[in-house]
Structures are given as structure tokens and as C-alpha cells.
Subunit: 418 residues, 2 copies
Amino acid sequence: MSVEGMIRTMADEAGKAARALRSIGRADKDAALNRMAGLLRRYSDRIREENAKDVARAREAGLSAAMIDRLTLTGPTIEGMAQGLEEVAGLPDPVGLVTGMWRRPNGLLVGRVRIPIGVIGFIYESRPNVTVDAAALCLKSGNAVILKGGSEAIQSNMVLAEILAEALQATGLPEKAVQVVPTTDREAVSILIGLDEDVDLIIPRGGEGLIRFVADHSKIPVLKHYKGVCHVYVDQDAEIPMAEEICYNAKVQRPGVCNAMETLLVHEGIAGRFLPAMIERFEKAGVEIRGCERTRSIAPQVRAAVAEDWPAEFLDLILAVKVVGDLEEALDHIERYGSKHTETIVTNDYARAQRFLGEVDSSVVLVNASTRFNDGNQLGLGAEIGINTSKLHAFGPMGLEELTTTKFIVYGSGQVRS
Amino acid sequence: MSVEGMIRTMADEAGKAARALRSIGRADKDAALNRMAGLLRRYSDRIREENAKDVARAREAGLSAAMIDRLTLTGPTIEGMAQGLEEVAGLPDPVGLVTGMWRRPNGLLVGRVRIPIGVIGFIYESRPNVTVDAAALCLKSGNAVILKGGSEAIQSNMVLAEILAEALQATGLPEKAVQVVPTTDREAVSILIGLDEDVDLIIPRGGEGLIRFVADHSKIPVLKHYKGVCHVYVDQDAEIPMAEEICYNAKVQRPGVCNAMETLLVHEGIAGRFLPAMIERFEKAGVEIRGCERTRSIAPQVRAAVAEDWPAEFLDLILAVKVVGDLEEALDHIERYGSKHTETIVTNDYARAQRFLGEVDSSVVLVNASTRFNDGNQLGLGAEIGINTSKLHAFGPMGLEELTTTKFIVYGSGQVRS
């Protein structure tokens, strides 16, 4: 079959599975998730065998050690995937929740109820465990999912797909509720994102190139973020030890992720007291600082920031630092260079904290906490399938509830419109 | 200036206005809306003068009487627009509502708060009063809006834009919060829907051609419905007089709108008792019936339905009628031919009513009420800017709340991630 024929068939089967899922309740979905966990453990050796083929091919292709590390599945990572499935089984089911119900003057009883979105296309470049995580979240929220993973993980993803299908079949759920695209042909992505009659939502996860390609060519709604250019603003009334801990954590704890700090803004009234020790600590941790002129007048050893540094997502131990005259200047800088992802103010000033929370137009805005908390798990959503910086549907981290929508249900007794 | 330069400038100004609107509260927005209402009344003569130019041009161009009627603004229609503004002023402000707040084990206080979406592009072909309605809803929800109306209403829209801007200025709100594209050049639409860095949401309203053009070419999220192929299913346990009233209302009360019934499905167990009188009543009202074979065996005078009739949105006094063997067949038919817009079951059977509500995948699903209730006002949203049949963001009618999104706000006390 052609790639196009194959993807169309998969979308068609996903549509049928999605329809069946509408009337499948929590107990059955949880049973399937727990069965998946059991089968992952049972087939652990087989998963590692198939994964070893991906890893061998990656070595031949000369992929970096870091990428090979991300690709490799071990006993503990497989156990982690199994536990992840069990955790999702333990989360509340968002489907069926009536978010509001009211009676109209004419007696109509109008309610809104959470329903699955339908068919989701999930396109990713990440580690093979994302295959299992995404399948679990989509299934629990009642959606059918078509998973298109990276070509380097194809053998691993195929064996995981088989195991997930076996669990679905064994527990009486539609087997096509979770499908993995069984090809590395990149055409598959172009075809999938064009099926606007059959697919309700596309979620791309990976590098900015992949995401831009999907967003530019899809006719289907896309939830995504391109990058996270996250800021910490240290106000003149910040507690310096707290500011230091927050900034250090936001930059150094895991620099390669989207919620790491990329630019530090410091009020001029505290810069002289705060920056020298902070920059020293950063430099000890291997962070390269790129500072504005005023930063460099405080710490002359620092490299001068260039225009490209302010909108940059370094994803690395690099930090842009700017001294600002006031909160207004910090807000302007964030408005101009930010990515609507995550911004933090460190302050003990009540009015400025409230103003920052109100005026910063980012999916997560924090006072006195690390940017690293923009994460579905950390914020209490229970799990996360991604972060959305478009304003529509779900601004910010997306958990199970964000994989649903609502429809109106209306109980009448013969009402007509006059 | 080129059309492109003009639209880019408008989008840029809209962005600045949207930023200012973030910190403008209800009282100021309501004052502006009420001022707009006052100015519409004051300038009623001038509006009609400008409108007369549009109407004269429409007559010269040979537009239909119905279209000229829709275009014409009279004293009462202008008064209606003013009252509409006052009604929106009276509605609750969705912005700032904290939809939930919880404390995490590490002490972080995490909340979700409603915020405006930002900059909305509203593209429409309708009557000039839509200009005022859309402006009111966007302003009240804290959004800046760029309005691109139909070329036939350009003079009317321009004078309305001037009046709205005067009201914004007089009440201290950003004048560029509401802008009307001052050209009939169709290129303006293509440019507007490509500005994905500046515009957060596109809402097209009009014919299917306009909507498909926008959806196919926009890089910005689009909320829209192509058509409403709405069904009423009369179950074997329907009360016949109730079924007759609901079906008659759904088809005849206003046949040219998206929530009118286009196909009637009737259970075979009631068809013989229900259809003869129902069809007679429809025929008296001038409705042309297109029936399946079984319908024609009951009412032989009826024209035979062809394949194209089942997915058709007639928007006219035409109705497709099909007799089905059971609820399952009705659900299958709706799944295949429906547009996810509005579906009604008429029944006194509890289990089938609940099953219909649960399994029909439409934005509004009703029991024992007319399809004509899929309307923001009728369902109690207070107002409506359109109906969305994509599953994302707001499935169904969109009121003020649906013109907002939520962001996370986090109150910490120095938390970092371990």
C-alpha cells in the first residue's frame, strides 16, 4: 500500500476506535492501562532486543552519545514506563464531568459535559518512552491516537505498539485506539497533518524545525510551543538568597529543557549587591554569561551580549543578563523577547508581584519560584502531554483534562423557539 | 501605503491595544460600551446616510432584494445595535475569574485565571450590525479586534468604526482596540490570516467558500463551522404532538440558518402514525420533502431523495426524510452525514435519550427540544460571536467566556525544583 493509503486507513480506523471509546468507561480504560504495564514488564527482554537494533543503527549512523543515551531502553526505563502507565490509570477520568448545568427561563436544562476530542495525531522525535506516555494519556482521556515517532526509534516503537495493541485486545478495548505509524517515511507526516476530515488535533513535540513544519502545513488545529525563552526578573525588593536559589535552579538544574531560564533581568537597585556573587556561582557551574553594558560594569569579565542573545533559547549553560531601570522596563523586555512560556518575578513587594502576575502574558507566571515548575506534573495536573503557547484551547501545560473538550447537552420537554 | 503595510500596521496597533486592555477593568469597558450605544443613537442620521451609499451601490450592482434588506440600516436596526451594546455591558466580565486554585505539597499555590486571548481577526460577510456586535463582545472580553467586513457594507462599516473609536477615545480606552479594515481589497484577508506572530485567533463568519478559504490558508488558529447539517430523530416512543412541534419549528421557523433541521430521521415503529400528518403540515408551509423509499411508501407524493440530499445543508424550505430501523441506524446516519453541529432526539424513552446524549458527537445534543436552540443567547451564554464545530477551544456556541483563555499563576515562597 502507498504511504498515503496506509495513513488514510489508519485515520479511518482511528475514527472508528474513537467512536467506540465514547461509551467506554473508566474501569475498562484503567484495566487496559494496567494490562499494558504488565505486558511491558513481561516483554522487557523483547523490547530491549528490538531497541538494541535501533541503538546499533544509531551508532553506525554516528549519532551523538547523548542521543544514543536518550534512545536506549534499559530494565529501569522499561519499569519506569510501566509505572507511568499505572500512574495514569490512577488519575481521575476527565470524561463525563459536567462542568456546569443550569435551567433556562423556558425550562430547558442546559449542561456542558467533558468529552474526548476524538482522533489525535502525535508527532514526536523523542525517546521511545514518549510512545507509551502519549498513548496512556490519549487513551485515558478517551481519544484515539496515531503516533508518528522518530525514525531512529522505529524498531522500539513498533514492538511497543504491538504490546499496547495486545493489551487493548485482551481487555476488550478497540485495538486501533493506539496506532504507531509503521514507517520512517517522512511523507507520512505531511499526509497525516492534511487529513482534516479525520483527525481532530495534532500535537507535535520535538525541535523547532519539526514544529514549524507541522504548524505551517497542517490544516488541523495544532497545539504546540516553538521554544521557551523564559525570564526571571529579580526586583529591587527581592530577598537575595532566595533570588540566588531560584535563578540557579532555573538555569542550571536542567538547562536543556524549555522551562529553563534563558534571560535574567535584574533591577538596577539590587544589581550591585546581587549580581557579583550570582555570576560567580553561575561561572563555577560552567554557565557562560552574556551581559548588557550595565551588567559588565558590575562584572567586567562577562562577555558582551549581542542583539541575538535576547530572543535566544540557548538550551545550554548560557545565560543572557540585563540590568533594567524598573519593572516597566522588565515587562517591556519580556513582551518583546519572551515566548509566552514561563516568567518569574522574585520580590517581596506585594504590588509589583501582583502587577507582574497580571500583566505578563505567559502561560505560567510565577512569584518567588523557579521557572522549572512549568510542567503538568509539578503544577498538579497529574501528567503532561506537552506545553501549548498558542492561546487557544489550553494555554500552558496540557494534562488529561486538556485532552478533552466540552459539548452542550440539553434536556427539554418539548421547547421550540418563538 | 500598500494593503500589506496597512494590515501589518493595524495588527501592530492591535497588539499594543491588547496589551493595554490586559489591565483595564470592567467598569471602564462597560463605560465604553455604553458610550458607543449613546453615540450610535446620536449619529443615527449620519449612519443612515453612509449606509444609503452602500445600498445604492448594491442596487446598481443588482444584488437580490433579500441581500439589500440585510444591508439596510433603519432607525430601529440602529436602536437594536445600541441596545445590544448595552446588553453586553450588562453581562459579567469573564476576565480575571480564577477557575481553580490549589496548594501543592511543596507549598506552591497554583491557580488558573481567565485572560483575554489577545488580538482577534474577525472576517465576515454579514450585515453591518455584526460589526458592532463583534466589537462589543471582543472589547468586553478584553481582546483587540480587527474587523474585515464585506465590501458591500464598506461605507456603513467605516462610519461605525469612526463612532466606536470616538467612544473608546472619550472613555480613555485604547482607540485601536477596535479597528475596521478600510478597504474592499480581498488581499487584506490573505494578509491578515498570515500574521501568525501578531494575531492570536481568526473567526470567519459567512458562506462556506469564505470559511474554507480562511481555514485552508490561515496559519493562525481558526474557530469556525462550515455548515450545519442538523438532524432530528423521532424515536418510536416519541409523543407525536411534541415531535410535530419540534420538527416544524426546527425546519420552518427560520430555514436559512445553521441550526435549522436539514434531515428528519424517523423510527419505523412510529413512521406510519407520525409522517402523514407531519409531511402534510410541512407541505402546507411550502417545505419540499425528499424522502427515502420507506418514506415514499407512506407518503407517495414525496420526491425521492438522492445521495446528495443526505449531507446537504439546504438553508431553505427543503427537508430530507429517512425512516430508520432503530436508534443504532439513526446514530450511524448522523455519524456519517452530520456536521457535528446540532442533533435532537424526540423520545419518552429514558435509556435511548441518555444514549443519544452520550454518543452523538455534536456541539449541542438535545432531548425533546428544537435544534434552533443552538445559539449562545438561547443556551444562556448571554451573547454569541459564532458557533465552532472544530473540537478545539470551544465546541459549540461561543460567548464572552469562549473569547478568553486561561493562564497559570503561581504564588511561591522560594521553591526550586529538585
